[in-house]
């Protein structure tokens, strides 16, 4: 791939309608940088987005892209990648899209381990519908639909991914531009399903999980003795410490992606202009 692709080549001319200061700006910039730095080109890249503020990302980026229905972005990305493994497939969504309406697909996409990346813009709130609890909202987070808080523990995306057999599980912060781009880049380069939960603050409706909160509380695993290839270290980070981590929590270097396991390597768009050679064998089977 040509090395002269700049990250701005992945930017469309559409003006984002995200609120000024929205975490999604930083999330998207990091995605574009990571795509460019891994040598991808907009014509060979496919972005899939779901519904919500995060879902608008396909509009603001330049590539082949589909903005789908709520919660089903991962299945779409799966189909794109399997039909043409030469494409770079990146799926983007929010915490509602991925962990609520799409939670079932999330679990199965993780265990399927198709070689693509999944970037979740986690702001712990439903922003586009103007401020209701999301699956990652805190138990006591008060909103119009949960006046006393959801009174349910939030979904732990890291734990879900680990339990489902995730082979690349990471977390980043949209405001830490360099680390975020590095982590997304690693997810792209991972041979399998590269999952990054991005803390992407909502400045309008979430006054708890703010930039300030993440700046103060984030712990970068790189600054500890955490070994991302050690499953026990990952379990401890996810279940025991209660800290908000940034970095690659778990990575299975020997992972074999779905396409490799199943020998899916053809560009299925290429077909002959008649029945394929040998099709008559199919008729003979019925004698």
């Amino acid at each position: 791939m040509s090395s002269d692709v700049r990250f701005t080549d992945f930017k469309s001319d559409a003006q984002p309608t995200w609120c000024p200061g929205c975490g999604d700006f930083g999330t998207m910039n990091g995605m574009m940088k990571a795509l460019a730095s891994t040598g991808n080109h907009p014509d060979d890249t496919f972005i899939v987005a779901g519904i919500g503020c995060s879902g608008k990302i396909g509009t603001y980026m330049h590539s082949y892209a589909l903005h789908g229905v709520h919660g089903r972005a991962l299945p779409v990305g799966t189909g794109v990648k399997l039909a043409n493994p030469d494409l770079e497939v990146m799926v983007a969504g929010g915490d509602g899209d991925g962990y609520s309406i799409g939670a079932g697909h999330f679990v199965h996409a993780v265990r399927r381990n198709v070689d693509m990346s999944y970037i979740v813009m986690d702001n712990r709130i439903y922003g586009l519908t103007k401020g209701q609890a999301s699956p990652t909202s805190r138990e006591d987070f008060e909103t119009a639909t949960t006046p006393e808080g959801p009174k349910q523990p939030p979904v732990n995306p890291m734990a879900l991914a680990l339990a489902a057999g995730g082979t690349f599980i990471a977390q980043s912060f949209s405001s830490d531009a360099q680390r975020h781009a590095e982590i997304v880049q690693e997810a792209i380069e991972h041979d399998g399903f590269g999952f990054v939960n991005v803390f992407s603050p909502c400045v309008t409706f979430n006054d708890v999980d703010t930039y300030e909160y993440f700046r103060d509380s984030l712990v970068d695993v790189e600054e500890s003795d955490h070994d991302p290839t050690d499953r026990d270290d990952a379990k401890e980070a996810i279940f025991e410490t209660g800290a908000e981590y940034q970095g690659v929590i778990y990575r299975e270097d020997e992972a074999v992606s779905y396409t490799e396991q199943h020998g899916v390597d053809a560009n299925m768009a290429d077909i002959p202009d008649g029945a394929p050679d040998g099709a008559t064998d199919l008729v003979r089977e019925f004698y």
Partner: protein, 591 residues
Amino acid sequence: MYSDFNWAIGGEAGDGINSTGKIFAQALSRAGRHVFTSKDFASRIRGGYTAYKIRTAVEPVESIVDRLDLLIALTPRTIDENLDDLHEGSVIVYDGERTTMQNVEIPDEMLGLDVPLKRLAEEAGGAIMRNVVALGAACEAAAFPIDNLDSALQKRFGDKGSAIVENNQTAARAGQDYVRDSYADREFGYDLECTDADYVLLNGDEAIGMGAIAGGCRFYAGYPITPATDVMEYLTGRIERWGGHVVQAEDELSAINIALGAARAGARAMTATSGPGIDLMTETFGLVATSETPLVICNVMRSGPSTGMPTKQEQGDLNAMLYGGHGEVPRFVLAPTTVAECFHRTVEAFNLAEKYQIPVYLTADLSLAVTEQTYDPDEFDMDAVEIARGRVVDEESVAEWQADDGKFKPHAVTEDGVSPRTIPGTSGGAHMTTGLEHDEFGRRTEDGGMRVEQVDKRARKVDTAREREAFEPREFGDPAADDLVLTWGSSEGAMREALELLDERGVSVRFLSVPYVYPRPDLTEAVAAADRVVVAECNATGQFADLVEYDTLTRVERINKYDGVRFAADELADAVAAALDDDTTTTEVHA
């Protein structure tokens, strides 16, 4: 003496009924006889009544009838379930040594053949071959040369080794010999003549799967559901030979979205499901249609609503396919009318999907899905398959469809409604599309003018297809007859045979079988030319009859069957005769 022979094996689910029936159907096909099969079955792994039925003749057979000539009964219930169809001289093979069968009473006018199936099977090498002993007994009673059964057993068990094949062939002979020796004085009166013809034997789901591969489908995603699962099972292990792949998704929501992704990547992609799955897929269906993605969605209908009768026949989803989903967006609905049509219409469905960048419902039903039918192999001529991909633009031609700043227009407003399409990887063709209303570039818009342009553009694709394609009905019967019968989908075979029965009674009708529900043929002239019009379909409300009335502004007579069983030729002939005979406008047919 009838020219056709009707055979069945029945017992409990888990008794190997299906596989035994398939072996006998194969033997008949190998003998150069035509075969048409049907199944009575329940949605469970063990228990309940299940039967595999075969109608066979030297001439083509296309329907079931209400007559049974030979029944292998593994349970007393099998006899009870079929009493209405058994007749004087019907042969019933059973094992009187089986505890449950000891007190079975065979009606006096029938011929009971008490054959110790289990004991003879054990002597031949194992009780598991009990049904094969019964097949040997059936060969003797029907005067059917047993070497054809040998050949079918070889096909069925060949991969398990020659010892297994030989044991089965020995077991079959034990059944044959037993009948020959113990019932030497009986005249059965059947003689299953063989011919030199070579036929293939396949069901509708298999024909759809084969049509998909022939028609360039390389990607399938689905979730198992009766009666569509056979499509997925057929493709698995075969589509890979041509670089394709099958994904078993976690649910139907995922299945259609995975297939949608593959289609956006440029593959000819398909999913198959039945009613409950169609309901789940409906939201994404709207996205497929408005993003103008070519996708084939196969709906093998079963009885609804909700879980309904999952193993029973019905054509009840027509309105769901035509109108399902919020908002308004065009789609095509094809309804193959026979097993062979399942192949041809599947190839066509993929061409239509790409030529018009539109979702195509390809709808079969339980009857077609489980019917094994014989055909001349030339019916499936692979050399005749043509692939048309529509307005796909490559790197050379993409410039024609770019704005001045180089942006590609995936939803360009064109005269024929069809926009250009770039396969991802094509330089200069990058674009997004969305379920939001969009402009020519695929970007969200709420501009009223562009909204109207895009809605009209999508609708124009249907007009274009009507002009360019031949959405014709299949014509049978007497074209000059006063009365007209219409069916859609799988009822064609029963009605074709009913034509002959009606003819014997001096009733002559014109019969149009409609494989295209939307866009559909213009039936105005045919309806106007007829004194009376009868629409027969397997549902309670007459969904297709409603369409005919809407199109032609003419009231039609309705024949509706919704007891879970397909039309039999003889009952359909009776119903048509009755509908033409009095002034009632709705005839309900129940077995």
